[in-house]
């Protein structure tokens, strides 16, 4: 039952071995090209592809173009990629955990909860600075997700997929209403908080990267380690228990990893929605449902998607920038509609 809902047109067994390697290689080269384009495309300062390469591989100079690539573009591209990887992996984990094809940080209110936390801290306790915002994001996201899981009765066998999603929507609406309220009450911060809510990597610098990568890498590795358990989880509670799995612990572990991944990316780039929803489905269509192969593919695809969205965000209203998250939401929402039509 659960297999059929998650499964896609491609049979998992055919996507084995050889093809998998080639496809991963293809994805990797796509990612590298996107990263390279991201280094110079749509810059307010004229930059060319060769300049970008020179800035990366030759001796550092004090030229403005050189410094822009090194200090602004490179960390931005890296953060975009890593955030995409984290969110996509988190989405895959959530879908595996709940066996719900619509599960993702955005739909389940984690983003909205994190956003509420940040909005509250930045409007009422601005003195707490970035650290305060980070912890508020983690706390808010965690509380929202726990609530959704409790409300949707996600743990019950045969839990209604719709109920879980509606619970997520209700909690997201609650958080959204409170976020709006706090923004209206503190008029000055409105634009800043909204940019943050949409999710943007425009202000990602090396410090952001240094804060992000250790946590994100740990989370991604933990996710990979959990991949075999997720495979077992997919066959159903009963069988999983028969295979000697301790369901409660696995679920707890997956939940914590999801929270770590989402919080790390929310702190780095704000709440970028729809990556966690879209990417796992794309990856499943390309690479099958084995989580050991699926999760690395999700990382690459998610990274490519957010990088592309960031490039697009610079292009749509050049020379001013549109947050990558806003662009992704515009792309992602129609996909969400399509998913509902085809997967429920």
């Amino acid at each position: 039952m659960s297999l059929t809902t998650i499964d896609t047109a491609t049979s998992p067994r055919r996507a084995a071995g050889h093809a998998y390697g080639w496809r991963m290689l293809g994805l990797l080269s796509l990612l590298l090209i996107l990263a390279w384009v991201g280094l110079f495309a749509w810059s307010a300062i004229p930059l060319s592809g060769t300049q970008a390469m020179q800035a990366l591989f030759s001796h550092p100079t004090a030229q403005v173009s050189d410094v822009v690539v090194r200090q602004l573009r490179l960390p931005r591209v890296l953060v975009a990629g890593l955030v995409g990887a984290c969110l996509a992996t988190a989405g895959a984990l959530m879908q595996g955990l709940t066996r719900n094809p619509l599960a993702s940080p955005g739909v389940f209110g984690v983003n909205a909860g994190a956003a509420l936390g940040v909005a509250l801290v930045s409007t009422y306790a601005g003195w707490m600075g970035v650290m305060g915002q980070s912890s508020a994001a983690i706390l808010g996201g965690g509380v929202a997700w726990t609530l959704v899981m409790l409300l949707g009765a996600a743990w019950r066998p045969g839990a209604d997929k719709g109920r879980l999603v509606l619970a997520g929507v209700a909690v997201a609406a609650l958080c959204g209403a409170l976020t709006k309220a706090s923004i209206i009450l503190a008029e000055d911060q409105a634009a800043g908080v909204l940019t943050w809510l949409a999710g943007s990597v425009a202000n990602a610098r090396w410090t952001v990267w240094y804060n992000l990568w250790p946590v994100a890498t740990a989370g991604l590795l933990a996710a990979l380690a959990l991949a075999p358990s997720l495979n077992i989880l997919a066959v159903g509670d009963e069988q999983a228990r028969n295979l000697g799995m301790r369901l409660g612990w696995v679920r707890l572990a997956v939940g914590i990893v999801v929270l770590v991944l989402v919080s790390a990316s929310v702190v780095a780039a704000g709440s970028i929605a729809f990556v966690g929803l879209l990417v796992p489905h794309m990856a499943r269509a390309l690479f099958g449902i084995d989580h050991r192969k699926l999760l690395p593919a999700c990382c690459l695809l998610g990274a490519a998607l957010v990088m592309a969205a960031d490039i697009l965000g610079r292009a749509v209203a050049f020379p001013s920038e549109t947050p990558a998250g806003a662009v992704l939401a515009l792309i992602g929402a129609p996909w969400f509609i399509y998913m509902v039509r085809s997967r429920t």
């Binding site: 619509l102 955005g106 609530l147 409790l150 409300l151 009765a153 209604d160 997929k161 719709g162 109920r163 999603v165 509606l166 619970a167 929507v169 209700a170 609406a173 609650l174 209403a177 409170l178 709006k180 309220a181 923004i183 209206i184 009450l185 008029e187 409105a190 634009a191 909204l194 940019t195 809510l197 949409a198 929605a273 209203a317 001013s320 549109t322 947050p323 806003a326 662009v327 939401a329 515009l330 992602g332 929402a333 129609p334 969400f336 509609i337 998913m339 509902v340 039509r341 429920t344």
Partner: protein, 334 residues
């Protein structure tokens, strides 16, 4: 008389505590109305309020031109949103459903925000009409995407997905035009500020949908038994569902077009009403209307008097009052 038609399992409710509750609610409504007339940035005595009702009175503007239409509008809008909530929950058969999941409020919001940001010089009088058109277009789009035979839960999910599309577009517009953010957000939160007799007259024709909803109540009761049983009892389930949803769309669009999407009212009022008088729609609908009216009146009152002369949007208050109750209720329902 409608008791004759209802399934026997509802008979176990004794009438007298029920009546007590309804009277209590009516009393609350009266108190809320009087409080709304007397309290505000300027507090008035009952005598002043009475004098203010006549054109010669000193407080004529505050009482007759400002507070009175606002109260009437709050009652109307509260009742409409609550009714829409009952209809949607009855048809989708899910306690978490609300008019919001049809994407109507968000569609109306998108239309309103587009007008505000893309044509900032357009007349403000156009705003309700744009919102109304947006709400109806959203409903039509939902119907086109789902088809009429979609199972209710799928319809709800499609509505949620469409709502996500509208909200992302709203965010996109707000982000590319930062100067209008605050005005747009104010509208999007839902507010009764500055609404007068003119808005009330615009609302009046829509109130006809309320008795129409009551007229459906018997069939909604049967729908609660499941599509199959309802069909056996002679109800054409898909048709009733379509009618009920169309009513909900009309009610929500009209309410939202005038006051903006007031959050949680459509979600919470049906639950509160159900706790008071049970699930029979003949009783549930009128009581839910009362609850919705009382809630919105209280929310608007609090929004006006919490920090005078600052006026907060009533939508913030309904969220603050409604959301915790809703969470508590859900955790209990589980």
């Amino acid at each position: 008389m409608s008791d004759l038609t209802c399934p026997s399992r509802h008979r176990q409710l004794t009438l007298s505590p029920l009546q007590q509750r309804v009277w209590l609610l009516a009393g609350l409504l009266l108190i809320a109305i009087i409080a709304n007339l007397c309290l505000g940035a300027v507090d008035l005595t009952l005598t002043q309020v009475w004098q203010g009702l006549s054109a010669e009175g000193e407080q004529y503007f505050t009482v007759h031109e400002y507070r009175l239409p606002r109260i009437a509008l709050a009652i109307g809008v509260g009742a409409m949103l609550a009714t829409a909530g009952v209809l949607v929950q009855g048809v989708i058969r899910n306690p978490l459903a609300s008019p919001d999941i049809l994407g109507v409020s968000q569609g109306a919001g998108l239309a309103a925000v587009s007008l505000m940001t893309l044509w900032p010089h357009a007349s403000i009088q156009l705003l309700p009409w744009a919102a109304l058109a947006g709400g109806f277009s959203a409903a039509v789009l939902l119907w086109l995407v789902c088809g009429s035979k979609a199972p209710p839960i799928r319809m709800a999910l499609t509505g949620v997905a469409l709502a996500a599309l509208y909200s992302s577009t709203i965010d996109f517009l707000l982000l590319t035009r930062p100067l209008d953010i605050n005005n747009a957000l104010l509208w999007l939160t839902g507010s009764l500020w500055g609404r007068g007799w003119q808005q009330l007259y615009t609302l009046l024709p829509w109130l006809i949908l309320l008795p129409a909803a009551l007229w459906l109540s018997h069939r909604l009761n049967l729908m609660g038994l499941g599509d199959d049983s309802a069909t056996c009892l002679g109800v054409r389930a898909p048709r009733v569902r379509l009618l009920a949803l169309a009513l909900a769309v009309g009610l929500t669009s009209a309410a939202v077009s005038l006051c903006g999407p007031i959050s949680f009212l459509g979600l919470v009022s049906p639950h509160l009403a159900r706790q008071l008088v049970g699930g029979r729609h003949q009783r549930l609908l009128p009581v839910a209307m009362l609850v919705g009216a009382v809630l919105l009146l209280i929310a608007d009152l609090v929004a006006r008097i919490i920090h005078p002369p600052i006026e907060l949007p009533a939508g913030i208050m309904t969220a603050l009052i409604g959301a915790p109750y809703f969470l508590w209720l859900l955790l209990k329902l589980r």
